[in-house]
């Protein structure tokens, strides 16, 4: 069988436009989902370290629930099941009037799922800070809330910049699952180009390259952030 290579097709309309729109959707979904994952994950992660039993229990339940259900299943649940579960009025709104129902479901799904993973990183970061540090903060008259604000959170986050980077990259890669509920992200567009042109190699190569390039940009940016956030010599200090 002979395959007709045609790289030029990627730059022809409407296919080029499709790819661009795919990139846009992938970035939009990933970025908004990340904002949810980061804020909700921080909240849940901190909640897992506090003294109050009920607060910790709720946070732990959240993490176990979201971390242990396969992401693809969660995607379907958000899109097909949640609108049926919520009160009638809201359900009807979600099905009929909610803007971009597919993308919104995908964002909520990726955001809440990744939040459970971010929460674990945040908890690990905070728990890696020696208890004596908290004692010192309290001893100088800070309240526990102030100890979190000025010590545990800022130090904890600096420790977990590298794993947070990989969580962000995971959200970005996982956003390709959104195609299963019909979000026009990169992979979906590549498939569509293949359907229309039979140039599958070119289309999927383009998709792969897009993922690689964005990943490299993120890694580079986070590396800069990590260097800036790094605590001089941290780790050495505790050795003595």
């Amino acid at each position: 069988m002979k395959y007709n290579w045609n790289w030029g097709i990627l730059f022809e309309e409407p296919y080029f436009g499709w790819l661009v729109s795919g990139i846009e959707w992938t970035l939009i979904v990933s970025a908004i989902a990340w904002i949810i994952a980061f804020s909700l994950g921080s909240l849940v992660g901190v909640a897992r370290t506090v003294n109050s039993m009920p607060v910790r229990a709720v946070a732990t339940a959240y993490v176990e629930l979201f971390r242990n259900i396969p992401l693809l299943v969660q995607m379907f649940i958000w899109f097909y099941v949640v609108p049926e579960l919520v009160p009638d009025g809201l359900g009807r709104w979600m099905k009929r009037d909610m803007p971009f129902p597919e993308a919104t479901s995908a964002i909520l799904c990726l955001g809440t799922y990744t939040a459970s993973r971010v929460a674990e990183q945040v908890r690990a970061g905070i728990e890696s800070i020696p208890r004596g540090q908290t004692a010192a903060g309290l001893a100088m008259g800070l309240t526990l809330a102030q100890v979190y604000r000025y010590l545990l959170v800022p130090v904890g986050y600096r420790i977990i910049v590298p794993p947070l980077t990989s969580e962000f990259l995971t959200i970005f890669k996982n956003s390709s699952l959104a195609l299963t509920i019909g979000v026009g992200e990169v992979l979906m567009q590549a498939r569509q180009i293949e359907n229309y042109t039979f140039q599958g190699f070119e289309a999927f190569t383009a998709a792969t390259l897009i993922y690689v390039v964005v990943t490299l940009i993120v890694v580079f940016a986070m590396d800069r952030i990590e260097k800036r956030a790094r605590i001089p010599g941290y780790g050495v200090q505790r050795g003595q």
Binding site: P130, G132, Q133, A135, A136, G137, L138, A139, M140, G141, L142, T143, Q146, Y150, L151, P154, V155, R158, I231, P232, G233, Y234, V236, Q237, R238, Q240
Partner: protein
Amino acid sequence: MIEIQHVNKWFGPFQVLKDCTSRVEKGEVVVICGPSGSGKSTLIKCVNGLEPFQEGIITVNGISVGDKATNLPKLRSHIGMVFQNFELFPHKTAAENIALAQLKVLGRSEDEARARGKLLLDRVGLGEMGHKYPSELSGGQQQRVAIARALAMDPIAMLFDEPTSALDPEMINEVLDVMQELARDGMTMMVVTHEMGFARRVADRVIFMDEGEIVEDATKDEFFGTPRSERAQQFLSKILHH
């Protein structure tokens, strides 16, 4: 100034403090010594409420530490504490470490906090080190910054928990000297330490603890002259002869 009355404390079934009673007058320096695990750290952490206790009363300047109605952060802000591992905050410079609680607890202005910090860094002999991060300082320097950080709150008393036992031998004296000077200036101090030379030079009284009990609570001369208990004598001979 600090009054400890019949304090009992348990960690689960294990009793760490057994009917501990003592008092520290204003301007007094009390050294607490005793074998590892005897409850020394626990006792001084009870004084500023870092450790809760189940029975007994501790008051600082008449304020009851164990009372639920007591504003603990406020009380603690008047009592300085220095730890074995310094516990400077790693993401802040020496000057920022000293400024933090002044700003957030006492509500001082940036300028005020900086000026006070500078003064205290000078006092502990680290006037030029304000911009350094903890990891860029030696252990002895870190501990002196930690002392300055505590002093910046203008405490009415200072608690020290083995402030020199994490230090290399050549750095111990620079820290002890700062503490000795504090004592001379009339600071009320409770010091957990095994530095018996320091105790002889600086302490007014010595408390000896063993297995959660205050076995001996005597003036320095009594303690080093003729300790009444056998356990204290054994402890002293062990510590002085190694």
